[in-house]
């Protein structure tokens, strides 16, 4: 039983990672991964919606009529997304100004609707929670790696403006890695998103193939 539980979590996080195995949620993944703090903010917002949606759909699964399930899923996801946007605006305004649009479109993120439809609507709340946490962690891993990589390549430092998310106790300067003369500004722009994401995708595929052997 314990192993099965672990299985759901690890499976949805790594083997079925939403970003590099299922290629879901790529729009926010590419758009928001230009810095570590943006990536973390979107990861948290997505996790909030994903966990809330999976849990409530799983809890209500017996009273949701089959033909009404899509409108009801959308209702739940849209409500949670609006709550996430409000909370972000209230408690991380600087971050809100930069990533609000991409938090709003969590509502149409097929990663979330996919988990709700394929898993939570036919699983018990405990399993749905583990699935949601695994998927959210998988998405966060992909986002944070990509965000940190692009920020480092483009600015030579990592973690700038983290105070927007964690309060003024954390500095806003970030950790310098190498001098600014060695940076590639393209990495922070949209083409850089595609290039870096493709490289990471290839890396993930190669390592998956290596472990399968």
């Amino acid at each position: 039983m314990n192993r099965a539980r672990e299985h759901v979590f690890r499976d949805s996080m790594l083997r079925n990672n939403p970003a590099w195995a299922q290629l879901l949620g790529l729009c926010p993944l590419l758009a928001v991964s230009n810095s570590l703090v943006n990536a973390l903010g979107l990861s948290l917002a997505s996790a909030f919606v994903l966990v809330g949606a999976n849990l409530s759909v799983s809890a209500l699964r017996k009273s949701i009529p089959d033909f009404l399930r899509l409108p009801i899923f959308m209702l739940i996801i849209a409500t949670l997304t609006t709550c996430a946007v409000l909370l972000l605006e209230a408690f991380a305004f600087g971050l809100y100004q930069r990533i609000a649009l991409f938090v709003q479109i969590i509502v149409t993120n097929c990663m979330i609707l996919g988990r709700v439809e394929a898993f939570a609507s036919r699983a018990r709340p405990g399993a749905a929670l583990r699935d949601a946490l695994g998927t959210a962690c998988g998405f966060a891993i992909a986002l944070v790696i990509l965000g940190a990589l692009r920020e480092a390549l483009a600015t030579g430092r990592v973690g700038a403006r983290l105070d927007d998310l964690f309060g003024p106790a954390v500095g806003s300067a970030g950790v310098p890695l190498w001098p600014e003369s060695l940076t590639i500004p393209l990495a922070a722009l949209p083409p850089g998103a595609f290039i870096c994401a493709a490289l990471l995708l290839a890396l993930a595929r190669a390592s998956a193939r290596a472990t399968d052997r």
Partner: protein
């Protein structure tokens, strides 16, 4: 019939629950959001207004507001791609001659991220700086004072239209002016 009724009741109850959750969250976050917006407006104005006058400039109902050094703070507005673009403009020389833009900052916009948001104050837009010193006649003579930005034609036109309109209004009506020099706080 009863299953139809049950479906209707289910979806109605769920909608009610979601609505209550939303209104509760909105009520709970209303104050922090208001405070955050006010703090952001204050931050934006520090680049525009002498430090002693921020409190006065903070209430937008009091605009046009005569700042020190003969500079007047006005609001400029036009419809951009995603909604209203609101710009705070500090005008000089409005009393003696044709007014000119001294400095400006975008207070609010909903332009497309990554395309039309190069006017965003967070990025300290170099593009907007090209309007510094512009007058109504300089904008009329050289409408391309600031180049168009590819992909963001509507945003560019909206900003230009807003500023042209503001300068025309400044020439037409008497704006309040305070010629007293600014307190020597800025080096």
């Amino acid at each position: 019939m009863s299953s139809r009724l049950r479906s209707a009741v289910t979806i109605a109850l769920l909608t009610l629950g979601c609505g209550m959750l939303l209104s509760q969250t909105a009520a709970w976050t209303a104050r922090p959001i208001e405070q955050a917006r006010a703090a952001a407006l204050r931050d934006a104005l520090t680049g525009l207004v002498d430090s002693g006058q921020i409190d006065a400039a903070f209430e937008r109902e009091r605009w046009p507001l005569a700042l020190c050094d003969g500079i007047t703070l006005v609001q400029s507005e036009a419809r951009g791609y995603g909604g209203a673009i609101i710009i705070a403009v500090a005008l000089r020389d409005t009393a003696a001659q044709e007014g000119a833009i001294d400095r400006l900052i975008v207070l609010r916009h909903r332009e497309t991220p990554g395309i039309g948001d190069f006017i965003e104050p967070l990025t300290q837009p170099p593009w907007l700086d090209r309007f510094r010193g512009a007058t109504a006649s300089s904008l009329a003579q050289r409408p391309l004072t600031a180049d168009a930005v590819s992909g963001a034609t509507i945003t560019v036109r909206a900003v230009r239209k807003a500023l042209t309109q503001t300068l025309a209004n400044a020439a037409a009506e008497e704006l309040p002016v305070n010629a007293a020099p600014c307190a020597a706080t800025t080096p």
